[in-house]
């Protein structure tokens, strides 16, 4: 067993265990922490698959930003409101298990049937990554894929506007209406015509 395989067989079970822990934990904070374990193991997989740049991005963006956002919202909504694990709809959970299992089997079959390229030249990424993985990514990203890159920026504008509009409810309109209802503010009157 090579070092690569050893690392894979150590981290893959941990990743799967993290995923299962997330699915089964009642407490939202625990679930989020299990997800962090899982995401970290996935980052290690990227390293194993010769994608060091993505390894860094995965840890910075997921562990550093996305999971913090999750934890922040969970705390905001209250930690004690855990999920209860009762059956949500009659028969939905067995159905979910069957669907998920069928999906794994289906993919396994397809993978066995469809691997035609696994016998490719084993020289690795050396040619592509000749002066660093980050530089190789940048070369593709800012030449062939610059349009998708710009579309991503559009996506982030939408997300920023959306988060602002939805989470930051209008202070102005609502408070004014409420103040009027409470009698703290007189309803707007017609202004006297100025001479």
């Amino acid at each position: 067993m090579s070092a690569d395989q050893l690392v894979f067989w150590i981290f893959a079970p941990i990743a799967v265990a993290g995923a299962i822990g997330m699915l089964l934990s009642r407490n939202a904070v625990h679930a989020a922490l299990f997800l962090v374990v899982n995401l970290f193991c996935i980052a290690v997989m990227y390293l194993l698959l010769e994608a060091p740049f993505l390894f860094a991005v995965q840890i910075i963006v997921y562990a550093g930003a996305i999971m913090v956002l999750f934890l922040f919202v969970i705390m905001l909504l209250g930690v004690d409101r855990g999920d209860d694990l009762r059956e949500p709809l009659i028969g939905q959970r067995p159905l979910a298990v069957i669907l998920a299992a069928a999906f794994v089997v289906e993919i396994a079959v397809a993978v066995r049937a469809g691997i035609g390229f696994a016998t490719m030249a084993p020289e690795g990424f050396d040619a592509v990554n000749r002066d660093g993985n980050a530089r190789a990514l940048a070369r593709v990203l800012f030449r062939e894929y610059f349009l998708p890159f710009e579309v991503t920026s559009l996506l982030l504008i939408v997300a920023a506007v959306a988060a602002m509009v939805l989470a930051h409810r209008r202070a102005r309109a609502v408070t004014q209406a409420e103040l009027e209802r409470l009698g703290l503010l007189e309803p707007p009157r017609e202004e006297a015509p100025s001479p």
Partner: protein, 100 residues
């Protein structure tokens, strides 16, 4: 070198775990986490294919997926907060997720 089918199977297991989570959890934040798990499973797939094909495009794609996931989480959590303000619950089935 880890064999490609093994990695693909690993990602399929993670994806299926995500599918199970979306179908079985009731709390909207938990469902969102399960969706994140699914997106990460896809990313593992993309990076594995990139390695097998000696093609860096798969890694670029994974980078886009991470950006999309961040945007999705931002909007999803904003909607959750919005809903929490209008009614004190974020359990999905109280939101009538499934009805005719």
């Amino acid at each position: 070198m880890v064999r490609l089918p093994l990695v693909l199977l690993f990602s399929a297991v993670l994806f299926s775990a995500g599918v199970y989570g979306v179908l079985a959890r009731r709390n909207a934040v938990m469902v969102l986490m399960a969706i994140e798990l699914m997106l990460n499973a896809v990313n593992v797939n993309l990076v594995a294919f990139a390695t097998a094909l000696r093609d860096v495009v798969g890694q670029v794609f994974a980078l886009f997926v991470i950006a999309v996931a961040a945007a999705e989480v931002g909007i999803g959590l904003a909607i959750v907060i919005l809903l929490y303000r209008t009614r004190e619950s974020i359990n999905v089935d109280e939101v009538n997720l499934l009805r005719w």
